[in-house]
């Protein structure tokens, strides 16, 4: 059942220009960033650099891709859930012999597949330099994994926001609000105490940083797993409440 719902979502994304436009825009933005990074490593006298090519590429390409996913995932999630609530097609899913968790996970699986697809352009751009520069494929695979996990978290937040409103635009704005909060929450430590490790821990970009540096740590995997699970559980709760009224 999860596969059936996910397949339909995937099809819907590619039937409309949305997924194609997002892919093209992602590719164009990242290609431009790649050229900017490479500029620093070419020419007769390269400028002083703080990091090597691998880290520069990883942080710039995958870091920018993460920001793009943060913008894209709520849009896709709102379309997948808010749109259905608004158009009444959700009632068909509600009357089908599928339980709520299957419906939600079906949509999440489709978003996960779309996020994976959007993780491929930066990976392909970085690996395109293989043979021409001393590229570390392991580093980029770790960065791609981190990027995908961040994409999954953004999707879960997007689904939770979509469960709060039947208006896709409103759901998208709610998701942006939540994600921006999760992005800057660790800045609070400048306001009060020196060390607020909990707020640091809550911030998604802190965890992505380690992936972009080529380190796959269990604590970061756990962060993305827990936070994604939390927002999916909240979305489930909210949808169940809609039924209970």
């Amino acid at each position: 059942m999860i596969g059936t719902i996910a397949r339909r979502e995937w099809l819907a994304a590619f039937r409309t220009p949305l997924a194609w436009v997002l892919l093209a825009a992602t590719q164009a933005v990242l290609a431009w960033i790649l050229l900017r990074v490479l500029d620093g490593f070419t020419g007769a006298e390269p400028p002083a650099r703080s990091a090597g090519l691998n880290l520069e590429l990883s942080h710039n390409l995958f870091g920018s891709a993460a920001v793009l996913l943060l913008l894209i995932a709520p849009l896709l999630a709102a379309r997948a859930l808010s749109g259905e609530l608004r158009d009444g097609t959700y009632q068909m899913l509600g009357a089908a012999p599928a339980n709520l968790a299957e419906v939600l996970l079906g949509k999440f699986a489709a978003l996960g597949a779309l996020m994976l697809m959007l993780c491929l352009p930066p990976l392909a751009l970085a690996l395109a330099l293989l043979g021409a520069a001393p590229i570390d494929p392991g580093l980029f695979l770790a960065a791609a994994l981190g990027l995908w996990l961040a994409g999954l978290l953004f999707s879960a937040v997007g689904l939770f926001a979509a469960s709060l409103s039947t208006q896709p635009a409103a759901a998208t704005v709610i998701a942006y609000g939540l994600l921006i909060l999760l992005s800057i929450v660790n800045r609070a430590d400048h306001l009060a105490a020196e060390q607020l490790s909990l707020l640091d821990w809550l911030s998604w970009n802190q965890h992505l940083f380690w992936f972009l540096s080529g380190m796959v740590r269990v604590s970061d995997l756990a962060y993305y797993g827990l936070m994604t699970g939390l927002f999916l559980a909240l979305a489930y709760r909210r949808l169940d409440n809609l039924r209970l009224g």
Binding site: A12, A95, L244
Partner: protein, 314 residues
């Protein structure tokens, strides 16, 4: 064997506002139940509860003994909401394949099920068309097709002929009649003619409460007439005619027996064995100047307005 659908003491509230109050009925295959009521009576809420989209505040809804909240119970359910649940970017064939998988039709049988339901709902010619590009009539048919693709035992249709042209309405009515022998059907409508045409049982709702429930009055009953006379006699004189069992005057709306002048219209119920031509002959023979002799409005209309009026009266 458990009944196909059993609804017991069903209540539903939105906040403090009660929307359904104590619904209770059973449905078996072969029943076509019409859910009637004015706008805001609670029909759509009732169907949303019966389809599992809303949980009851209290009471039970079960299909073959299994609570509707269980996903397995909904395997026997086909539901067409008020607005057909269509994905405009999908083609008709893709959509029906998706619906078949959603309703757990075995993979081997999906092709056959799609062909069968397309034939049944008149979608043969539009299988490759995008749902968003179909006319309203075809969209409604596609919505019906998704509700029927898995051949459910219980079919719930919310305003199934809304927005259709007369030809399409007739086709949908025939489709519902075709379903009836093997399935129980619930049709919600505020069109009395619609319910009269396809249903054999009726529930009349108002403000979430059942005002009337029972078998549909016989649509073919032909012993009630309305007559209009140029020189109306006293009601007793009319009743004295042998073809007439009961006669009662009909007052124009807004007037009453005290204020109105002598009524020229009467509601007539024929005596056993009397025929309309005998009635006509007796009225003409009496010299009261017969102006009109028409069969009375359908019994369902009478039941509906009696129920609503009785409720409205303090």
């Amino acid at each position: 064997m458990e009944p196909l659908l059993r609804v017991r003491a069903l209540h539903r509230r939105f906040g403090a506002k009660p929307v359904l109050r104590g619904l209770e009925f059973r449905l078996e295959p072969g029943d076509v139940l019409g859910l009637l009521g004015p706008n805001g009576a609670g029909k759509t809420t009732c169907l949303r509860v019966l389809s599992g989209n809303l949980a009851p505040s209290s009471g039970q809804v079960s299909i073959r003994g299994r609570a509707i909240a269980a996903a397995a119970a909904r395997g026997q359910l086909g539901y067409l909401p008020e607005r057909p649940p269509l994905y405009p970017e999908m083609r008709v064939d893709e959509y029906l394949h998706f619906c078949a998988r959603l309703h757990r039709v075995p993979a081997r049988a999906i092709g056959q099920a799609v062909d069968r339901v397309k034939r049944r709902c008149g979608l043969d010619q539009v299988g490759r068309r995008l749902l968003g590009k179909l006319s309203k009539g075809y969209q409604q048919r596609a919505g019906l097709a998704q509700a029927l693709i898995h051949e459910p035992e219980l079919v719930i249709l919310d305003e199934p002929t809304d927005g259709l042209d007369p030809l399409q309405i007739r086709e949908v009515r025939e489709l519902i009649r075709d379903l009836a022998p093997s399935a129980g059907v619930i049709v919600s409508s505020h069109a009395l003619a619609e319910v009269q045409a396809v249903c054999n049982r009726v529930i009349i709702l108002r403000d979430g409460e059942v005002l009337h429930q029972g078998a549909l009055p016989d649509a073919d009953a032909d012993n009630r007439f309305c007559v209009r006379l140029r020189h109306p006699p006293a009601t007793a004189e009319l009743t004295a005619l042998s073809p007439i069992a009961v006669a009662s005057p009909v007052f124009a709306s807004g007037t009453s027996s005290e204020t109105a002048s002598a009524p020229s219209r009467f509601r007539i119920e024929l005596a056993d064995g009397a025929s309309p031509d005998q009635l006509a002959a007796a009225l003409v023979g009496s010299g009261w100047g017969l102006l009109e002799l028409v069969p009375e409005r359908t019994d369902l209309e009478r039941v509906f307005f009696q129920s609503i009026d009785a409720e409205a009266r303090p």
